[in-house]
Symmetry: D2
């Protein structure tokens, strides 16, 4: 038995359990994470950015090939199917060893959503927004997706702009209609966000609002936690703990932030916080709670090369999850019960700063993927090759994606 | 008809409705708002500060005499009855023309609450915390109070310090026991607060958590919104709108803040925000929602003279409520329906900047109180008289109160 | 003497001084405030939005015609002169009764600025950024502008991305070169902003950094305060007071915000804060400090009709400035000297809630502009007329502007 | 050569330089960190807390004995010498192998400072505040201290309360007087803090204000960065970089926070941020900047055992500093120059997650201190022994300390 296994055993870690949990970790990457994105001040174009849905599938497939834990790609209905859904997309993905993940309707970009989608004062627009979701559900059924991932950009920009209560009721009505139309195999993931693009109020601004909407919409509606969608200071791991205990946690959109919804790569600004989030999940898993959690990446980094950034994010998440799994839970519980705050904290820090390299190398070897996926990508020359192939003028791309 | 009435009529204001709403406004003042308080860096003592419960009753009574809308005083069990409840307190209050308002248990000051009260890992301490609440309920019954106002300081200071989910369940258990013990006439008001004294996590940190706890505890548990208990940027009026629509709004602790839980006097930092909060309530009242809302002040201003500060706060609140009542609601709804954002906003601003002096003078004259309560207090010499009477060494006071 | 003048006189207000200050108030509007703008999630197009520089001049001119206090329009070099500076623009403006105000270089939109402009690791790019500023100075000289208004978007998105100190030195070098090239009649206004588009660090992030850069660059470099460019909680009026006392205040970009750099219309979210900012300026003016301050609007509201929003902003600013001028300064100083906090605060509140309608009507009548500029605009049908004229496809517009 | 040395050498680390830097690291602990402290809601008493100055010296000495890098203890004039300075304190410290570090005047606790100290409207109080500082300087001279560490709690709680500019000038005058009185061997460290106990404005609120005050006060006034004294989102490492480059950085008060000035133990909430701060210092040191930096701890943790918390904090700081020293600076600079953001970031992360245990064990062995100071303390039984010795009623303690 090698040194590191001894050390983990000394730390009371059940290595087989850790391996099983790591083996079960799957992180969905977003199609829009492979295309050029930016800020409202402009976007910096990358020669290798994906210009078509096929490009995005190629890139997501490459991330999965390198990491072994990213078998699905989320799609954004408007950005990926601007001219209508292509029924061959499932096959295309399969040819690349991928599956289509969460279906993301777009209820914010069309001019008619200026005053909202589900919450719009105009019933015709509300109806149109619901219809777009129903169409998204159909796409999901055709590609075998199990998640409808819904972010409502609905909000207002000025005091008095609209009646907050009426908007709340409109949203509840729309959610009821949408969840009713979903097949049994599908879960609605409802995202919350404190602000932007609404700068006075946002209709689904906090997890509390999302939780109440989900409770009203029934068992198949769950809350989606985007790690960047919180006001400064929010204790995100506490929210995760509450939602887990209420059976309301549907999944995550991973990214990191220092200020607002900065959409930086996961774990780049505050890795300890992401570790603490995973610590809540590891605690739940160790306690036998096996409700499915959809792990998804949602970033909009403007400056890192897209493919590198995605591989780096997937491995960051995997590493921080591994660290959370290494917490000596017996010791932690004993310290908590005894009110030994220093010992409890040190138990976490020991796991956070533990060297997970050999463990992750072992896991990756068993998966048949490179032991250092990011290094492997950088040495492969793939990014340069794709840039050459995709020389076509990037300015042809429409809209935000 | 005088000019201002003409102007309001032109603005589509139903003056009789406004008068009724203003006539129904009652603001409870806190006993601890009359005593010396401070920050962790020390407190600045005031010669006229209340040193005994009787002093506090005298002061609260004076605020009611001057304003006509502050007929009740909230009590803090530990601070006001340090040697056990005095059954004569109700009579004493009555002699001063006051009633006892919300009963506030204290679950944070005792040494045994170092690791929490309802959420403490030690069952004996949890039990003791519940017993203190049951005793508080009894006090409430004896003085005819209809509110048990509960702030749980429970939280942790360091990652790993305790099991967040276990704590959540402990709190739910305790709340069930407490609400069960309440008479039908009593409502539990559950306060939330993002941080302090817990600086890593707080068990009831957000309205969402409070709402879930109240839903689980039954119909007589409602959420208490302390206007200073939010992370920077939070849209408080939106929270109020949601809680009103969910029949979960129990009441308010008014104060103002710029940074954290600064406990400044109500309306002093951002009067427009307080107006917008009242605008949500005015909208609900105009829409026929007549659920009771407990309006209470909870401040801990260290530098303003206590009695002046309280009169100023009560009249600020009254004035901002009056402004909210003056909103031309027909015009507002029409603009909202038409998506006319500028017109909707201007309708609010017109009411916010409307001169409410003549209206409030009329209301006060009908109540038989001074037309300018703060000015009346400052001219009366009462503060100086009380200071002389209370010369007794303030250092005799125990603890925070 | 009419009632309101009596009341002001009773309040110790020197009405002639107030009139002079109001008469001297000039607010520059931004060319980009008349064009379609948006968020990174898309922009909602307005039929009447300006599509060309001439449209912008027409609109700015209309704002000045209605308010009498907006005689200049700021220009954005890249957005307004995408095909190079047109020397006839000054004449064109003059034909519409306008002058060109601050010249705003654009150092963030070009692909080469991905890693920064003045702070870029590449000397060739730094040089190009400086050259763009020198060209902007020339434009300024040709149109008789007295301000070069500089916002550096320079920053990094990830820890380690660049050497913070080296970047600081590069910026100081570039600023030295730029200020040296300015004619004596020109002032450099250096803007600061805490984040966005840089989400890890921003090179000129705070007023302190801007102040040090300006001190190093010499007397003709001053700090520009954008009211929306602060972290939550920042006391902006205190910054204004410090900069005024250090002779470092160059001017303002007015807008309002609740969360981040929301770019809402001035005074819409927290009117009391804007009043308190003006109160610092009124104090300085009353104290004989007559340093020029450039008042400019910089907003990017996506939903309000552009022209209405600009008129509303100009009049909001004027109204809040008027309120600040009405503060009874003798009373305020006496209360401050005596430590009478309540009286000092009430003096401010009295002015804030004072009815300035008759004063502003008088001022506007003397200027020969409508007494209610916003109402006048809405009744005029101008917006509709312009929309009809500008039917040309808005999608022809390039970039952010 | 052992494995870890090989690995560091492979990473381009100059181990001898790292050892020298680590050997030079000295962290001052605060006398008040050994006594009972708390929040405004109360303090939880610890049986082993220091009750007298001698106790504090015993405890600080124990921290130094265990860690080898904490040879000085800062004192707080009012809390440590409540009955006047005891000239024997230097000898007493020496007997315990300690030196007295920074002298901290107290300009906030006395009743007369209600409206400020240096900024008080009353000249007599300003004079008294200056005199207290002059007395503190004398104490410093007697005990051979090289730092006067000044935190001004001065601020206001309400708009209008005082004239912000006049206060600024008063502070500049007082600082001039104080720095003039200092011996050549002494440095004034000026702390800034955004809020608390002032909740509307704080006179020295930001590093920018402190920097301007220090510049005006002369070369021997430097800025003190308290890691917890920033608004949410502030990039502290950027401030450190600026101050270092301006030769304005005097030192640190270490602690951690999640919300406000939470005063948690250093590195407990966001260890990556503390690493990034040290990374700026390591960069400066590697670049030959050898200006002295005073490293001090200033915490007020209410719940962790005092002695354990201090040892844990000292070793956390040492560990994170060690990690910062391990950054492969050649690789970092190359990546920065090439705009290779991912490689630059990975270089930092590699050092942050590097296992520093063997390096720190080696360093500690050479210092002759336990290789695991916290574990050593917990096994020693010292805390229990001290608790028994200090049984004397803690409630005898006066004030905040």
């Amino acid at each position: 038995m090698s040194d590191w296994k001894h050390r983990l055993a000394d730390d009371g870690v059940d290595l087989n359990w850790v391996r099983r949990q790591l083996g079960a970790l799957q992180i969905e990457t977003p199609s829009w994470g492979y295309a050029n994105t930016g800020t409202r001040f402009g976007k910096f174009l990358q020669a290798s950015a994906a210009l078509t849905l096929e490009h995005k599938i190629q890139d997501a497939s490459e991330v999965h090939r390198l990491t072994g834990i990213a078998p699905r790609m989320a799609v954004h209905v408007l950005w990926d199917f601007p001219e209508g859904f292509d029924p061959h997309v499932g096959e295309l993905a399969e040819q690349h060893g991928l599956k289509i993940g969460a279906i993301n309707p777009n209820l914010f970009q069309d001019q008619l959503y200026k005053l909202g989608s589900f919450a719009n004062p105009d019933p015709a627009i509300r109806k149109r927004a619901v219809r777009h979701c129903l169409a998204s559900i159909e796409i999901g059924e055709q590609v075998g997706s199990s998640h409808l991932s819904l972010w409502l950009a609905d909000g207002t920009n000025y005091p008095g702009q609209d009646d907050l209560v009426r908007r709340k009721r409109f949203i509840a009505e729309a959610l009821a209609e949408v969840t009713l139309a979903m097949p049994d195999t599908m879960t609605l993931l409802l995202e919350y966000k404190p602000f932007e693009p609404g700068f006075y109020h946002t209709d689904v601004s906090e997890w509390g609002a999302a939780a109440l909407f989900c409770r009203a919409a029934g068992d198949r509606a769950k809350v989606l936690v985007d790690t960047g969608h919180h006001l400064p200071g929010t204790n995100v791991e506490h929210i995760v703990a509450i939602l887990l205990d209420e059976a309301l946690l549907g999944g995550f959109h991973f990214n990191d932030r220092k200020y607002a919804d900065d959409d930086l790569t996961a774990g780049s600004i505050n890795p300890y916080q992401l570790f603490l989030i995973f610590e809540q999940i590891a605690t739940a898993r160790a306690g036998g709670i096996d409700a499915p959690i959809a792990y998804m990446i949602d970033q909009s980094h403007n400056v890192k090369p897209k493919l590198e950034a995605m591989v780096q994010s997937v491995t960051n998440i995997q590493e921080l999850y591994a660290k959370a799994l290494l917490v000596n839970r017996q010791k932690l519980h004993a310290a908590q019960g005894a009110g030994d705050i220093v010992a409890a904290e040190e138990t976490l820090r020991r796991a956070f700063f533990a060297d997970t390299t050999p463990l992750l190398e072992e896991v990756r070897e068993q998966m048949g993927v490179p032991v250092d996926p990011l290094d492997s990508l950088r040495r492969s020359g793939i990014v340069e090759k794709r840039a050459a192939q995709r020389k076509a003028d990037q300015s042809a791309q429409a809209g935000f994606a």
